[in-house]
């Protein structure tokens, strides 16, 4: 049972008379046996609201019943009565008097990056180009809704469900239930999609299921229906980004002054780290000596925004890449040429001062993508179409971008992830990690990595079920870190196992299996190799000044979209899409291609149609019929190309690629619409309604 208003004081919970409560299990905040806090970054979010509610649909009361139908009747018979207070719903303006609900000013987190001297550089610029860009919330729409089963096994509370991070859930359960890690166990069930939506949110679902199971004294299954999943759970942070860019007459970037504002929603959850990734990617893959980035995540009375593939980067990359086209127009340069003049060369540095020297030739990537897309040939055809056809218009747009793999800065060091590899009695090995499969191919790629590192056949590799009672904490399955970071740990754990068995590192296959069997025979227990995260040499990061090596490695990409706009209906269709990226070594072509294609289509959805309509701060169009994601008929084949520069510190030379593809489609598509229509859209999703407004404004400008 959830809050009916965005802000207020809970007066009472009213049960209709005549409700049969005999088999009904009712849980509220008083049933917690630990602090009423969902453990994450800050302890501000309650497991169940006690006296105040801070967003619509905030959980207040839990009900369970053996019969689903009886439960539905019970839900209809319970009312949460709240005295409403005026909510704060606009993250782009200062809170009104009485609206401050976090700190002194409702700012959940502030972060900044400073490089060089922006004001002086701007003063000396030939042109200063300004722009303001906005992005809306995005709903994950994993096909499988949030769901969890909880039961007690003797003294141990077990929770099994759809989740990305078993150890996050474990810690949250232990904290709010006041139980040590030996009395809670979390098992991941094969998960039907996550995209970040099952990073932090499942802790809440698990807590709710656990509270009910404990009170009911029997197993409880808690599965969200689509509507509840859409209106109550996390989404991508809405953003506002302002750019002030100084360029010289040749279009070289002299200064980038960037302001990033994210809507954090009613609790801190992961907003500080989302903001961190957002600002680090805000200046793009360009070399500029003077950069100032000011970021803040702001409180509103909305359900908390949370992790979503890309984690803040798509918002700032949209702004930056859209802005680059605006800058190009201002200095009368071709957008490709403007980018070519500014892309980071090896030896140059990013906004945080990280010197890039990874051997990747970024201008070559740009040229190759442009060539693959047929950019120059198509331009002429598009001009011809515009002359000939009454309402069809076509255009091309591109985006250059990068995405840091793994946790930001010292995050991986703090995590100190561990992987174990055990030798089994029959000579096979078992990889034990807490990293999970949700469709991105973890099981396949881990098997592949372990097989290559051990010299054993794939059939001789077992992967332990992600069960906190059986696997060590190898960190969450997020941040494009699974293959690069955890895959590397698997390799090292296998090396360690070999060393423990007295084998040289290159001992493979049969000899390895034989040694494992012998060890079993001798000691009667499984030999175990282990590895804990070690940062690559030379990676340095200063958390207080935000200077240094923000990520150990970056993936680089250039995406090109061709769109057709129907001027009768202002509807945009993507007709061709080229996704070219350098992601280190590609370990499995089919899986990697699938990741890119899926991410691009998700990005196209965000760019054009996925519009979260907010009412009272929460999603009002919480049905799949009203929140539209692309179908197979809405997207063209996504043409994927990989360029490979092996990365020495990732498993088999791989860098992360899972999030990268969500970054580029929005700017590429919107730039293409801008070119097709001669307008300057600045907002995603660029729905037909918004494009119409833009075109009408444009017409008014001309008149």
């Amino acid at each position: 049972m959830r809050s009916p208003v965005p802000r207020g004081r809970i007066r009472e919970v009213r049960f209709a008379s005549g409700l049969d409560r005999s088999e009904l299990v009712v849980v509220d905040h008083r049933d917690l046996t630990g602090p009423n806090e969902v453990l994450l970054i800050e302890p501000d979010q309650p497991v169940l609201a006690a006296d105040r509610v801070r967003h619509l649909h905030e959980p207040v009361l839990l009900l369970a019943h053996p019969s689903r139908e009886a439960l539905r009747r019970a839900v209809a018979a319970v009312e949460i009565v709240v005295d409403p207070e005026p909510p704060v719903l606009d993250f782009t303006v200062d809170p009104p008097p009485g609206g401050v609900q976090y700190g002194d000013d409702n700012v959940l987190k502030r972060l900044s990056i400073d490089k060089g001297d922006v004001e002086t550089a701007l003063a000396g610029a030939a042109r200063i180009v300004e722009g303001e860009y906005r992005t809306g919330a995005q709903e994950h729409v994993y096909l499988e809704n949030q769901g969890m089963v909880a039961w007690e096994e003797g003294d141990v509370l077990v929770v099994k469900g759809s989740l990305q991070c078993p150890y996050y859930v474990l810690k949250a359960l232990g904290h709010a239930l006041g139980r040590g890690p030996d009395r809670v166990r979390v098992v991941q069930a094969p998960t039907g999609g996550g995209f970040g939506g099952k990073e932090e949110y499942p802790s809440l679902v698990a807590l709710h299921a656990a509270l009910l199971a404990r009170k009911a004294g029997r197993p409880v299954k808690l599965v969200y229906e689509r509507g509840e999943d859409m209106e109550a759970t996390t989404k991508r942070h809405p953003s506002l980004v302002r750019h002030r860019t100084g360029v010289d007459v040749e279009g070289r970037l002299l200064a980038q002054d960037i302001e990033v504002v994210l809507d954090g929603g009613a609790y801190v959850t992961l907003s500080p780290v989302v903001l961190s990734r957002a600002i680090i990617h805000a200046a793009g893959p360009y070399a500029c000596d003077h950069v100032r980035i000011r970021g803040r995540a702001v409180f509103t009375n909305s359900p908390p925004y949370g992790a979503f593939r890309g984690f803040g980067a798509p918002q700032t990359i949209f702004a930056n890449e859209r802005h680059m086209d605006v800058v190009a127009a201002a200095v009368d340069l071709d957008p490709i040429e403007l980018r070519r003049r500014n892309l980071i060369e090896n030896g140059q540095s990013t906004a945080t001062g990280q010197v890039i020297d990874d051997g990747t030739d970024r201008t070559a990537l740009l040229d190759r993508a442009v060539e693959l897309s047929g950019w120059h040939e198509k331009k002429a055809a598009h001009a011809e179409l515009a002359r000939r056809h009454p309402w069809r218009r076509r255009g091309m747009g591109l985006a250059c971008f990068h995405h840091g793999a793994g946790f930001t800065g010292s995050g991986e060091v703090v995590l100190a992830s561990r992987v174990d590899v055990a030798g089994l009695a029959d000579g096979r090995i078992e990889v034990r990690s807490g990293n999970i499969e949700m469709g991105q191919g973890t099981l396949t790629v881990f098997t592949q990595i372990a097989s290559e590192a051990s010299g054993l056949a794939p059939s001789a590799i077992a992967l332990a079920e992600p069960d906190t009672a059986r696997v060590p904490n190898s960190g969450p399955t997020v941040a494009s870190r699974t293959v690069m970071v955890v895959g590397r740990l698997i390799e090292r754990a296998i090396e360690d196992l070999k060393a423990r068995l007295g084998l040289p590192p290159d001992a493979g296959g049969d000899r390895f299996a034989e040694a494992i069997r012998a060890a079993h025979a001798e000691r009667g227990e499984a030999p175990v190799g282990t590895a804990t995260y070690q940062p690559p040499p030379g990676v340095e990061w200063d958390e207080t000044t935000y200077r240094g090596d923000a990520y150990a490695a970056y993936a680089w990409a250039v995406y090109v979209a061709e769109v057709e706009v129907d001027l009768r209906t202002y509807t945009t269709r993507v007709v061709d899409f080229v996704a070219l990226q350098e992601v280190g070594k590609v370990l499995n072509e089919t899986l990697a291609r699938g990741q890119i294609q899926g991410g691009v289509v998700q990005g196209i959805g965000w760019a054009l149609m996925e519009d979260v309509v907010l009412e009272d701060g929460a999603m009002a169009n919480a049905q799949l019929t009203n929140y539209i994601i692309p179908t197979s008929d809405d997207v063209p084949p996504i043409r994927v190309t990989f360029e490979e520069t092996p990365y020495a510190h990732g498993a088999r030379g791989a860098k992360g690629l899972g999030e990268l593809p969500i970054d580029g489609p929005a700017p590429a598509v919107v730039n293409a619409v801008a070119r097709a229509t001669g307008t300057r859209p600045t907002t995603v999703p660029l729905t037909p309604e918004r494009l119409m407004e833009r075109l009408e404004e444009g017409r008014a400008d001309v008149a």
Binding site: Y142, L143, G193, G439, T590, G594, G598, V601, L624, T625
Partner: protein, 171 residues
């Protein structure tokens, strides 16, 4: 029949009816509550949990099964309407037929996959559909959030190609 008005949700009254239908080739006889959907009967009464529920509103296609040879959303079919019909679910699919789809990357998380497979195999069984329709149009009732659809579309096209090749070979 009972002509009285009012609510037919009295927990004390048993509204169940018995229905019989063919499920994956075998005769099934079962008492159902008329408020149950075919999806509920398959998953919760018959234990055929391969068919998934993604939305309960006919949008996602994860619940796709065949009734009398046509793909339908089982979340929109009252179980009583299965009476006398022939229902086929993902459980009846020969795993060997999934090969081209697996190889082309048609599945990632798998939540959409049972529904995708039911539509894809229906297309493969009726290749003449492609004289009027594209694979992309025919698959539009199966939302997939992972693959971006290329793996699915290619899998169907490759499987069609493979069947044509075997047909061409003399027996």
């Amino acid at each position: 029949m009972s002509p009285e008005r009012g609510s037919y949700a009295d927990p004390a009254v048993d509204y169940h009816v018995e229905i019989a239908f063919t499920l994956n080739g075998a005769e099934v006889r079962i008492r159902v509550d008329p408020a149950e959907r075919l999806l509920d009967v398959l998953r919760y009464r018959l234990g055929l949990t391969g068919t998934k529920e993604g939305c309960a509103e006919g949008e996602c296609g994860a619940c796709t099964v065949w009734i009398d040879g046509l793909p339908v959303d089982s979340c929109l079919v009252p179980a009583v309407q299965a009476r006398g019909r022939e229902v086929v679910t993902i459980e009846a699919v020969d795993p060997m037929r999934l090969r081209p789809l697996l190889e082309s990357g048609a599945t990632q998380c798998g939540a959409c996959t049972p529904g995708v497979v039911m539509t894809a195999l229906w297309i493969l069984d009726h290749p003449d559909l492609l004289e009027t329709h594209t694979v992309r149009e025919l698959m539009a009732g199966n939302l997939c959030r992972c693959t971006g659809y290329d793996g699915i579309v290619e899998g169907v096209l490759e499987a069609l190609e493979a069947t044509r090749d075997t047909e061409r070979e003399p027996a």
